[in-house]
Amino acid sequence: MSDSLIFEKSVPGRRAANLPECDVPRRDPAELLGEGNLRESLPLPEVSELEVVRHYTRLSQRNYSIDYGFYPLGSCTMKYNPKVNEKVARLPGFARLHPLQDETQVQGALQLLYDLHQMLAEISGMDAATVQPVAGAHGELLSLMMIHEYHHVHGSPDRKLVLIPDSAHGTNPASAARCGFTVKSISTNAHGLTDMDALKAALNENVAALMLTNPNTVGLFESDIVEICDLVHQAGGLVYCDGANMNAMLGITRPGDMGFDVMHFNLHKTFSTPHGGGGPGCGAIGVKANLEPFLPIPVVSRREDGSYFLNEDRPHAIGSIHSFYGNFLNAVRGYAYIRALGAKGLREVGENAILNANYIRARIQEHFDIPHNRICMHEVVISASRQKSQSGVRAMDISKRLMDYGFHPPTNYFPLIVPEALMIEPTETESKQTLDAFCDALIQIAKEAAENPEIVKSAPHHTPISRLDETAAVKQLNVKWVPAEA
């Protein structure tokens, strides 16, 4: 049964917070702020603290999560979020720190940032890094601004073109457009990789950069990556790596070694910081030396005497993209994760993420079309085209039916170039039993699609609510509660 809204539980006069009385002589707010500046009413809800606890405890129980079950959302790397990271992120020395305190009072925080930047650079084969971007898309935006400035400083401000594979995540073109670039799509060849001819054809003196996801969003490693980078560089462009799929590369290979000039990480994917229902994240970027001068200010720097400071003496910096220094407490969580794993642990992550994805691929290959059924990296993209043609069962139907088997569905309809796409990313923290149970469910659903498609098309059946009327959600737009007319 759906739970009522907090506003529908509000009773005038009810109180929750236990606040202090005013212990200084009170003065009339109207006199202090000006009559015209005071609001007449504040229509916030009025509930008790126990009702707040019950309301959000019950809501949480109707929300699937990694702590509850297998969450194979492709390209999101829903790995286990270690509880120790939550413990250290709440230490008063980090959580109770104001960003504008004098540098001498925050040396521990600056040291952590400095060391994290070093480790991210080493892991990615880059020369420097910054955690100022708070999400992957934010990191893309920053990188493109730096690329734009790079070309400006190197005398070709008119490089206005950014090449983006048709399989790329939507944030890539959106970020490029946001920086005033024009986007040119590069097609994917029959092998699910970048079409070299299309790339060569598109390369010219107007190209500012190529934005490439590697491993790409079809779950495959761009084997021609070294040649791709050389080609772009020869054309005077820079190469940006969307590092969302970095989980497959940890300890095995590095974007920097492939020739990439800049990349973004998603700490909330690869480095286990929790997704929090949609955020907060951390979209740190790594850059080669050629782009280092353009990093946003402040840069965390280290003096000879070993002390750390927030350095704004950076003439080529492109400015800032955050009110302070990025999502610091997620930097603490990412730092703790890397220090817990070390080099050997990071390599284990890459190996087992790839093992798990290929195991799923192998187990379900007879039952579903796999556009590119060869060794994949950390995720496998299958297609429900066979089911759709045979019984009209679509990718979305299979996803909804998976809910009845107790699993969160994979990513649907991404990448757009694969029809009826289902992108499955198991991550390295899932057991063989869980992978087997998931594959068994998929195989069972494939059977149902063939023998009893209705049960799949009308799924889910065992969830608090069934499928929602998405069209009505747009047509009769209702994006906030309003009290019923008295």
Binding site: V24, Q105, G108, L341
Partner: protein
């Protein structure tokens, strides 16, 4: 030790099923030349005991605000967060879920986002609020770009009394998107309407203002809106959500876009992040606003349910034509603000705002009674105020001295406002008792005496 459950037997069986001999065979698609041979040069793994001790030692190198009285504001505030907030947002079902793409198994997150949107509208007096932005600075920038998109004009004007870090981010976003930014100087700590009317023209897409402004002073939002409406520019008003416990909401002045920093709503300071940029606007801009939004609808049995809606504006569908590139946002901080606003409720937020107002004025009056300390401006203020210090005791040295009294002093204006180098902004919230304020005053008396 990377939280990996596989035993050697598991791995053997899985490799067999895949049809390869060993793990390294799976790296075939990765060109030999880019495969790492040795280990990454990062410190060796730490077990959980060593890890916690190491992080504790780093944390101990910082002076945290459980041990110092904090009178520093300037965008991040030492407001009180009731224990119930962290207790609920740390539940694994919220903490470890992601963007609620599949509504049937994510009603918990979806309903709480719908409730968050409602609370922000109630607070700001606006008709529509999105699910969250990164922080106030990027919310302002995206608001300005939205105004440019709506008005098809190329210039944004920002008051110099807006937070300097916000202005720096706005400048980065606007200039890097190929548009123009102009700054309207302050006059005695507030916007001067005379200068405003002169500087506005019909190529101005919007004007950005902050209420209360960076110096803590109240701007005249009524005249401001009258003036910009004359040239058809939109308003982007950045507000302090706690002040809205008392202050008339920008919606009642006809604001087009209202944004702000939600850290004050129960979120920790966290050395400046993660933060919460709230974003609200008029209903008519429902095709244009950035970020995600959740709407109510019904399921096949007529039961109410919530789902992400107006999706076609977003990057995963509209790609380069999207209204913004935002995907992962600050969802858990929005949940934090939601629980905070329900816990405070109508009476609680009013009381917090009143406590801040009364204590800030008590501190202001007592400090300004000290010889050598003067108010820097005359305008009304809410919880922050700017004082001028005697020449012999500039803000930096006063703050250094305050440290020995166990206090973190005010924001030194020298860096972004050279003309105010002799002044600092002090902030007093509900977390400071009368005795704390008296201790500040007596310390200042001794330091500047």
């Amino acid at each position: 030790m990377a939280y990996i459950p596989h035993t050697d037997d598991d791995r053997r069986e899985m490799l067999k099923t895949i049809g390869v001999q060993e793990i390294a065979d799976l790296f075939a698609p990765i060109p030999e030349e880019v495969r790492l041979t040795g280990d990454l040069a990062i410190p060796p793994a730490l077990d959980e005991i060593g890890l916690v001790r190491h992080l504790q030692s780093l944390a101990e190198k910082n002076r945290n605000l459980d041990r110092y009285l904090c009178f520093l504001g300037a965008g991040i505030y030492d407001h009180f967060s009731p224990a119930v907030v962290d207790a609920l947002i740390s539940r694994g079902e919220f903490l470890t879920s992601y963007t609620p793409y599949q509504p049937e198994v994510s009603q918990g997150m979806l309903q709480s986002i719908y409730e968050y949107q409602t609370l922000i509208c109630q607070l700001t007096g606006m008709e529509l609020a999105n699910a969250s932005m990164y922080d106030a600075a990027t919310a302002i920038a995206e608001g300005a770009l939205m105004a440019i998109d709506i008005t098809h004009r190329d210039t944004v004007v920002v008051a110099r009394s807006v937070h300097p870090h916000y202005r720096r981010v706005l400048e980065t976003y606007i200039l890097r998107s190929g548009f123009k930014l102009e700054t309207l100087d302050h006059d005695e700590g507030v916007m001067s309407m005379g200068v405003l009317s002169k500087q506005l023209s019909d190529n101005v897409a919007c004007m950005v203002v902050q209420q209360p402004n960076f110096f803590g002073n109240l701007e005249d939002l009524q005249t401001f809106h009258d003036e910009i409406r004359k040239v058809g520019a939109l308003s982007v008003v950045c507000v302090d959500p706690i002040s809205l416990g008392l202050l008339k909401p920008p919606g009642e002045f006809g604001a087009d876009i209202v944004v702000g920093e939600g850290q004050s709503l129960g979120c920790s300071m966290g050395f400046g992040g993660p933060l919460l940029g709230f974003f609200a606007c008029k209903r008519e801009y429902q095709r244009k606003f950035p970020g995600r939004i959740v709407g109510a609808t019904t399921d096949s049995q007529g039961r109410r349910g919530f789902t992400m809606t107006l999706r076609t504006r977003e990057q995963d569908i509209r790609r380069e034509k999207a209204t913004s590139n935002i995907c992962t946002n600050e969802a858990l901080l929005a949940l934090c603000a939601t629980i905070y606003l329900c816990e405070m409720g109508k009476q609680g937020l009013q009381q917090v705002a009143d406590l801040c107002l009364q204590k800030a004025h008590y501190a202001f009056d007592r400090l300004c009674a000290l010889a050598g300390v003067e108010p820097r401006f005359q305008a009304p203020f809410f919880k922050e105020f700017t004082i001028r210090l005697p020449f012999a005791h500039p803000p930096a040295s006063v703050n250094q001295a305050l440290l020995d009294y166990g206090m973190i002093g005010g924001y030194e204006l020298r860096k972004f406002y050279p003309e105010l180098a002799d002044s600092m902004i002090l902030c007093v919230t509900e977390t400071k008792t009368r005795e704390d304020i008296d201790r500040l005053v007596s310390a200042m008396a001794q330091i500047t005496g």
